[in-house]
């Protein structure tokens, strides 16, 4: 029987292949109590604590900041320091690397063997090597680097999505506005009456989802020379929590009331703020995205279309504008800047403009109960 126990790298989400070791809470070779948190690991969606299953001494088998394969040996636990094994070298005869990492390394002429990586080489390692090479090279920019801040796992996912979008899409944009004076009053009343924290974001999700029923080409993706229309309307909505960007997905949003959307979205956001992580259902399968930036100075935003989608709808902050009412009197109205970014390879301007108009008209005429 082995004198020590191997603690494996945990799987946080069903699709995780790797997780990042964020930090060690217990120093190498030190004593831990049963249930004590020894390390924190994170995937692209959530972080979790790794606890000691029993009291003993800990041997780290990887360093903080490293990516580790799910199921690999994270640490060893023994009753005495002497019984702890030495750290296991994970580098085999040949360097192990993900397909994407190999592709990236080849594109940047980086020899994987020079990385001295314990475990599987990932895209992050290659980007790190690229950054190190850039840092070592003389730069025309005289500014001195003050700090290097690694991206979180979630932000790395965002970076990949943005890069993919930039590579594959041909975006075009339309800017518009909607009068939301009446809609805002309705939302305030709904918050008090329906017991749901109903916001303009929730109303936008509702209106966009219903409008997409009439504009299927915007709820689709381009595959080769074919437009694949999605069978459901799942609206992703961006949320920045703790400096990380998430796209929370409200599945079948066209079948939900505004209050139901508000309840679902608020619940997801609360989970993120409480660092509970989100399920795959809450983060996967978006077919169209809306994004909201409501800092008072933001009139419009021009967002990037998510990969595998046709368009994204963005709003800015509510502004006040002078207008004339039916009697010709000058009145103050509340308006909202609207933007649609769409993939012009398969969505034409007139189609996108008609959609934008439909959303603006519905927002302006929104009545609770619809």
């Amino acid at each position: 029987m082995s004198a020590y126990v191997t603690l494996q790298v945990p799987q946080i989400n069903a699709n995780d292949v790797e997780v990042r070791i964020v930090e060690w809470r217990v120093d190498d070779g030190h004593k831990v109590a049963q249930g004590e948190v020894i390390a924190v690991v994170e995937s692209s969606k959530a972080s979790t604590d790794v606890e000691a299953p029993s009291a003993g001494f800990i041997r780290h088998n990887a360093a903080a900041g490293e990516d580790a394969k799910v199921g690999a040996a994270l640490a060893f636990l023994a009753q005495t320091v002497e019984a702890l094994p030495r750290r296991q070298a994970a580098i085999a005869d040949s360097v192990k690397a993900t397909a994407k990492a190999r592709e990236l390394a080849q594109a940047h002429h980086i020899d994987l063997a020079t990385l001295n990586k314990t475990g599987i080489v990932t895209e992050s390692d290659i980007y790190q090597a690229i950054a190190q090479r850039q840092a070592a090279a003389p730069s025309a920019n005289a500014a001195v680097t003050a700090a290097r801040v690694p991206l979180s796992a979630i932000q790395i996912s965002v970076r990949r999505a943005v890069e993919q979008s930039s590579r594959e899409m041909a975006p075009a944009y339309l800017l518009g506005a909607a009068d939301v004076t009446d809609a805002l009053q309705q939302l305030e009343a709904m918050t008090e009456q329906d017991g749901a924290l109903v916001t303009l974001t929730d109303l936008l999700i509702h209106v966009v989802a219903r409008a997409l029923l009439e504009f299927p080409r915007l709820n689709a993706r381009l595959v080769g020379d074919q437009i694949e229309q999605y069978g459901s309307i799942n609206i992703g909505v961006t949320a920045e929590v703790g400096g990380d960007l998430y796209a929370i997905v409200i599945a079948d949003a066209d079948k939900l009331t505004v209050a139901q959307i508000a309840e679902k979205r608020t619940g997801y956001v609360m989970q993120l703020f409480r660092r509970q992580g989100l399920s795959n259902e809450a983060l996967r399968g978006g077919t169209f995205t809306v994004t909201v930036l409501q800092q008072p100075a933001v009139l419009h935003q021009v967002p990037i279309v998510f990969p595998e989608q046709a368009a994204i709808f963005g709003i800015g902050a509510v502004q006040e504008a002078l207008s004339r009412d039916a009697a010709g009197q000058i009145v103050t109205r509340k308006t909202l800047g609207l933007t649609i970014s769409y993939d012009h390879r398969f969505v034409n301007g007139n189609y996108a403009a008609t959609f934008l108009q439909a959303v603006a008209t519905t927002l302006a005429g929104f009545r609770a109960g619809h």
Partner: protein, 83 residues
């Protein structure tokens, strides 16, 4: 209205979340009507109050506690039950 210990603590937390002086928060202050008290700030307020009073607010209560008066009543009950 005379402030009690609970309402003073509430004002302090709300002032920090809404970035305003605590004494500008009136008993009538409420979500969507008070400056900076929007839906996102409300979530941040709920989390800050959970920390301040050491208690978890249920989702159903979160959407109900949208005025200073309701928050005061709720956390007065919480403080009372802890005595």
């Amino acid at each position: 209205v005379q402030d009690n210990e609970t309402s003073l603590r509430l004002r302090h937390v709300m002032g920090a979340v809404f970035k305003c002086a605590p004494d500008t928060i009136t008993p009538q202050a409420q979500l969507h009507k008070f400056p900076r008290w929007d839906s996102l700030a409300h979530i941040q307020l709920v989390l800050a109050l959970e920390t301040e009073f050491g208690t978890r607010i249920r989702d159903a209560d979160m959407v109900r506690l949208i005025t200073f008066e309701k928050l005061t009543a709720h956390f007065s009950n919480v403080a009372e039950s802890k005595r």
